[in-house]
Each structure stands twice: as C-alpha cells, then as structure tokens.
Amino acid sequence: MSEQQTYEFRDPHDLAPGDEEEVRLGQRLLGYLIGLGLSILLTATSFFVAGTDLVWQPSIPVALTVLAIAQMGVHLVFFLHITTGPDNTNNVMALAFGLLIVFLVIGGSIWIMSHLNQNMMPMDQIMRMQ
C-alpha cells in the first residue's frame, strides 16, 4: 500500500490528535479565528485582573487559575482539535490520564511540602541547637 493511500483513507471511528473532521477551508479557518479571538479575550482578562484594584484582591489567584484553565481548554479544542466526539475517545482518555498525573504531582507536592513547612522547627532554633 502506497503512502498516499494510507493518508487518503480516513477512519470513520478514529481521528489522529490534531486532525479535524471538518475539511472545508472556510469552516477550518473560522475555527482557528474563534480560537484566536477567545484566547486574546481570556489573556487580556487575565492581565487586566492581575493589575487592577477593581476586583476583590483575595479572589485574584482563583480568577487567574480559572482563566488559565479556560484558555487551555480553548487551545485544546480549537488548535489541537481534541473534542468530545466519539472518534476522539482515545485522545481524550490519554489526556485524562496525563491530567491525573499532573494534578497528583502538583497537588501532592504543594500539600506535602506545606505540611513539612508547618511542622519544621523554625530556622533560628535549628541553628541554636547546633
């Protein structure tokens, strides 16, 4: 089987990550434009929220985290074309596993290290014992 044939044959049940179901030029272009527009909006909001006094200050870290996660979602859907469609199941499952590990690593590290930090003797007392 020649290479060209392999490419032309599109599996109805499976889609490579990054590939789109949509093949029409205008629709694909529109998808990237929507992704770009949403990203610019979310980025601008992030920078605005970080620098403003209009927002209740303790809410800023949460707002920035939510905006960042939303923008990552926008990138995944509009740029990497990872969707919830049935032909994308394998890609989404791999992503879910990756996210599980990411949350375990980051959440676990912060959790454990903050407990260690609280239970550790203050530095000046350690110095005095030596």
Binding site: M1, E3, Q4, Q5, T6, Y7, F9, R10, D11, P12, H13, D14, L15, A16, P17, G18, D19, V23, L25, R28, L29, Y32, G35, L36, S39, I40, T43, S46, F47, V49, A50, G51, I60, P61, L64, T65, L67, A68, Q71, M72, H75, L76, F79, L80, T89, N90, N91, A94, L95, F97, G98, I101, V102, V105, I106, G108, S109, I110, M113
Partner: protein, 216 residues
C-alpha cells in the same frame, strides 16, 4: 480474530476493512497517520507531566528568596504580554500552515511557516533579553532557590521553543525538497501538535509564574 490477522498481514491493500469496520477496534491496524499522531500525543502528555514537576518545584520554592529579590520586584508584565502575544499569534499562523498543507498549497504553507518562525524568534529574543537583564541585575539562577526554580521552568519552555523553531525550519525545507508526501504530512501533524502544546504550557507559565508572582 481471523479477520484481524488477515488484514493486518497484508496491510489491507484494497481497503476491505471499511466493509467490516462496524465496531471500534475490530478493523486491523489503524492508519499510519492515526498511529503516528497518537504516539506523538502520548509523548506530548509525558512532556507536560515533566513540566508539571517543574511547576510543582516552582510552587514549593516560590517564597524561598534567601533575602534576594522576589517575583513582584523582578517581573516586567509588559514584556510578558508581548511574549504572550507573539506566541499566541505564532500558534494561529501554525494552524494556517496546517490548513495550507492540507490544501496542498505550497506558497501559503511556506508563508505561514515563515511568519510562525519570525514570531517564535521574537518570543525567544524577548525571553533572552529578560534573562540577561535579570542576570545583569544580580538575579541569576544562583541567587536563590526561587530564581533557580524560575530559570529552570521558564528556561525549559524556552529550550522547547528553540527546538520547535529548528524543527519548523526543517519542515519548511522538507516540503520544499520533497513536496506534500504522506510521511511529510505526518511530521507536519506532529509539529503542529508540538507548537500548540508549547502555547498551552506558556499559558500556565504566564498565569502562574508571572501574573500570580507579580501580585504576591
């Protein structure tokens, strides 16, 4: 079972699997484009897991400035906004290059890739200027645990962008020399995934490192 063995042995020369392919996973091996793309997707996820370790160490070491400057004193958010704009636009033009490649339009493809390359280089130039500025002000990676973690995390992303630009130039040359062959298109698929994934990691960096860091 026999169907699977039969069709995988000969690579399905007549596309017979389309006739039998009524359920998922019973049609023999998937097309090469899907296998390659999926394998690269797994690699990208492991790369993101690696970045998550750097993020975790940054989060843990964030306050350990050893009497040195903190993020709020060092970060220049205008510079970060410009870097973000360059990388986001380069991600968009990379998408345009993928469309042009699927349309088999070499001129648009090369133009979009060239713009992507220029935007990526602008990002790198800004980042290098920021790093050299920090080091010149005595806030290099050896100053404190916070700065070590900062330079490791952001520098690792910068290294990925540098590697991506080299890959980008290679892909421009490959299309120029060999045209839109199926294997070249598979590499292009992987490159586009890589470039978009770098932008996702940058979103996490500018939100967590720069915006949160400059506020705290």
């Amino acid at each position: 079972m026999t169907d699977t063995a039969l069709y995988s042995a000969h690579g399905d020369p007549h596309h017979l699997r389309g006739l039998y392919d009524s359920t998922l996973g019973h049609g023999g091996p998937a097309p090469k484009r899907i296998v390659t793309g999926y394998g690269f997707w797994i690699f990208l996820l492991s790369d993101i897991v690696m970045f998550s370790c750097f993020f975790a160490s940054y989060a843990v070491l964030f306050r350990q400035t050893a009497g040195g400057p903190s993020g709020a004193q060092l970060f220049d958010l205008k510079n970060v906004a410009a870097e973000t704009a360059f990388l986001l636009l380069s991600s968009f033009t990379c998408g345009l290059a993928s469309i042009a490649a699927d349309m088999r339009n070499a001129r648009w493809y090369q133009a979009a890739m060239a713009v992507t390359c220029v935007l990526g280089l602008c990002f790198l130039a800004l980042e290098l200027r920021e790093f050299s500025d920090l080091i010149a002000r005595g806030a290099g990676p050896t100053r404190s645990a916070f700065l070590s973690a900062f330079f490791t995390l952001v520098g690792c992303h910068g290294l990925h962008v540098s590697a991506g630009i080299l890959w980008l130039l290679t892909m421009m040359a490959q299309v120029l020399a060999k045209g839109f062959r199926a294997d070249i298109l598979r590499r292009l698929l992987c490159f586009a995934l890589f470039w978009h994934a770098l932008d996702i990691i940058w979103v996490a960096i500018f939100s967590i490192v720069y915006l949160l860091g400059s506020g705290a």
